[in-house]
Amino acid sequence: MNNFLKFLSFFFGAVFSIFLFLSISLMIRNPFISGNNNEGASVKKYNYAFFLPKADASFIRSLRQGAADAAKSLDCAVSFHPIDSDPLSFEMACFSGFDGFGLYLYEDDKKKLQQLSEILKKGIPVVQIENEVTQSPGSFFIGTNNFDVGKGIARLALETGRKKINMVLVYSKKNPGVITDGRLIEMGIKSVMGERLSVLRTEETSLNPLDAEILVHDLLNEESSIDIIVLTDYNDTLVTVQSIIDMNLVGVVNIIGFGDHETIKSYIDKGVILGSIVRNPYRIGFSTVMALKEISENGYTSAYVDTGITILSGRMQ
């Protein structure tokens, strides 16, 4: 009897201890109680703001990811703000206590330029991403050299072996940065192709992901002599390819795409797409944060950082 009672005491004591342990460990482990629910609650030194187009393009997403990863590894905080849909946000940027800005300006908006100059006046470092809309001390550029992009497109076009090439360059609001520096791209194309470029026509698609389909249909219906269509957005590339396939013009009309998505790569393998221009938005985002931190700590950084392009083509497989 006594042994049984001893066993009972031991049993209840043990179970009590287990529940006590569970309670305490639950309290310690639980982020509500331990205060660890705020993963990024550790104090950082710098807070940088990125003003980017609101477009939910893969380019912007990748850029944001690069910036966020850089912020994590470089122990600083970044916040992202729309530069186009919320003008007040950019207007108030200089009062918001940010230690630096990453700006993706793609329009010659006077108000924005004025605001940029206000920021620069206050001595807050600014990195202009992809498009250098203004050049001033305290402002730096990180992005792709669009002239090189144009040269890359031209080289791909020459690979078709056509003597005279009618080319359509399709810009997209989904990738507005390219529109701003469109002239540089065109210059790059012309500089390489020279006389072999018969016609270079430019078009623009809206934010609608299917807009390119209408455009391609219209283009090919009204003008049958188009040899190459150059796209500057990933979505537009996919839609255009599908249209060409539907119209049974594969091989007749060549496509130069944009981006390195697996679908695009597979089209390149099949010969449906001639090649693709790949920029590195992740690297752009990462480099921007790096540059801002360097400026915050040292007061200077390289004024111009070219993150380069990659050309995907069948030849490269």
């Binding site: 006594n2 639950l26 109680i33 990024g40 905080a77 108030m92 918001s96």
Partner: protein, 493 residues
């Protein structure tokens, strides 16, 4: 003191209470903690809403001041500005949390707002109409933006809280479950401790009561009770053991006393019997003294007559008879020298030889050295021989033999009377060898033998093998008397 009932009860009570209080305290602390967590979720929101209210409160006095230049509006404006300024935290750590970053942004915007407000007041005082109107536009924009940022952070907070709500509920339920189980287990633990203590006390008590029952049943050989309970119970057990030993000892003493009394009673009864026997013997002797003397004198006269008539065999017979009578009459003692007994037997032999010259063969085998060395009870051999002569050969034809031998096997003197007669039945032997008071109802045929046997038992009460009868049907009988020479007979006259 440590092992006392009081100390143990106090200890277990304290342990139980501490555990239960700890559990309940833990539950209380946990609940408060959970409440605080819930409160904290809304603290920031409340603070931001307060800021928003202050900002909103500023708008009317600002407009009023700018439009009327009212000093009361200005003082109100300044008061709210002061309140707002002191409300905005100066520490604005940078974290990677989106809400924290927006809050930090809001605080900077508030700084800018207050600065611009001061600027507007200065411009108003300086009558710089164009400037303060422009500044007013700007500050309204700032005010709207601050409100939109507060709304944004509230929205983010709400979304986060919504996401966290289910997790928080899960946590709360699990904590409550663990806490309830904890209290239950603590109560059960305390109860089992209490039961253990109670059992520690009651179990030895049951043991003691069982032992007491055995004791009351007269079982004193039970082992001592050794308990490892509380001091009080252990002391009771020790006292119980002492009591058991004392009672055992006392009862043993009583038993011894009783045995002694029984012994004394037995002795007394024996003495009484002996006394009775002696008186009876004395009576017999007195009665017998008359006839034997008369017979002895008559036999002597017969001896003289036989000599005168020259009847030698008759004279010899009569002389032996007279000698035997003289021995019988003379030996009034219980013990006689062995020589006297043998001499008496030889006289009896001589008579028997004359009586049964052809049918009876008598043998005597005694070492002369023994005759004067040892005594033996008087009149034991002759009655045995007489018994053999009378009963052993009645139904047997031919010549019978009776042999008497005496030998010494240190320290026992063995007298053997043996015949080759018909033997004695077993039941008679059994009856004869049973010690008893002489019963005159017994067959007179064995009276002499019985007399000898009972006398031997009487004289040597502690020596059960003092006499023995070896007999078998038609193979004769041997009666053995074993006299332990180192053992004193109970009576010696």
């Amino acid at each position: 003191m440590k092992n006392s009932l009081k100390a143990r009860l106090l200890f277990y009570f304290s342990v139980s209470m501490v555990i239960i209080l700890f559990s309940m305290g833990f539950v209380l602390v946990t609940s408060l903690k959970l409440q605080r967590i819930a409160d904290r979720r809304f603290e920031d929101e409340k603070f931001l809403q307060e800021l928003k209210t202050h900002l909103s409160d500023l708008q009317l006095p600002l407009e009023h001041y700018l439009s009327t230049y009212s000093s009361s509006s200005l003082s109100k404006l300044l008061f709210i500005m002061e309140t707002l300024g002191s409300s905005v935290p100066s520490a604005r750590p940078v974290t990677s949390d989106e809400s924290d970053l927006i809050k930090r942004e809001i605080y900077f915007l508030m700084d800018a707002y207050l600065e611009q407000l001061n600027q507007i007041i200065e411009q108003k005082r300086g009558r710089k109409v164009q400037q303060y109107i422009q500044s007013y536009d700007e500050i309204i924009n700032l005010y709207r933006y601050i409100n939109s940022r507060i709304n944004a952070v509230s929205l983010i907070g709400f979304r986060v809280q919504l996401e966290e709500y289910q997790n928080f509920l899960d946590l709360f339920r699990r904590m409550q479950l663990y806490n309830i189980l904890q209290i239950l287990m603590a109560t059960a633990f305390a109860f089992s401790l209490l039961m253990q203590t109670v059992n520690n006390i009651t179990s030895p008590m049951y043991q003691l009561s069982g032992m007491a029952g055995k004791l009351s049943g007269g079982l004193f050989d039970i082992p001592d009770v050794h308990l490892s309970s509380v001091n009080e119970v252990n002391q009771v057990a020790e006292a119980f053991n002492d009591m058991k030993h004392n009672i055992h000892h006392y009862i043993e003493e009583l038993q011894k006393q009783k045995e002694m009394e029984q012994q004394i009673m037995k002795e007394r009864v024996r003495n009484l019997k002996m006394e009775q026997l002696l008186k009876r013997m004395e009576l017999y002797t007195l009665q017998a003294q008359m006839n034997p003397h008369f017979l002895f004198n008559t036999i002597n006269t017969g001896v003289q007559l036989a000599i005168v008539e020259e009847a030698d065999r008759t004279a010899e017979f009569m002389e032996n008879l007279a000698r035997l009578f003289r021995y019988n009459i003379r030996e009034k003692q219980f013990f006689v020298p062995l020589r006297h007994e043998i001499e008496g037997l030889q006289s009896y032999y001589n008579i028997l030889r004359i009586r049964f010259p052809k049918t009876l063969k008598l043998r005597l085998d005694v070492d002369d050295e023994l005759l004067d060395r040892f005594d033996c009870p008087a009149m034991v051999i002759q009655p045995l021989v007489e018994n053999s002569v009378l009963h052993a050969f009645k139904k047997k034809g031919g010549k019978g033999t009776v042999s008497v031998s005496v030998r010494y096997e240190d320290p026992v003197l063995i007298i053997s009377v043996r015949d080759d007669g018909v033997g004695i039945p077993d039941d008679t032997v059994k009856m004869l060898l049973t010690p008893h008071v002489h019963d005159y109802q017994l067959s007179s045929k064995v009276m002499g033998l019985e007399n000898v046997i009972q006398r031997c038992y009487f004289l040597y009460p502690d020596q059960k093998d003092v006499i023995d009868i070896n007999t078998s049907r038609d193979n004769g009988t041997e009666i053995l008397i074993r006299i332990h020479t180192e053992v004193q007979p109970c009576i010696r006259l």
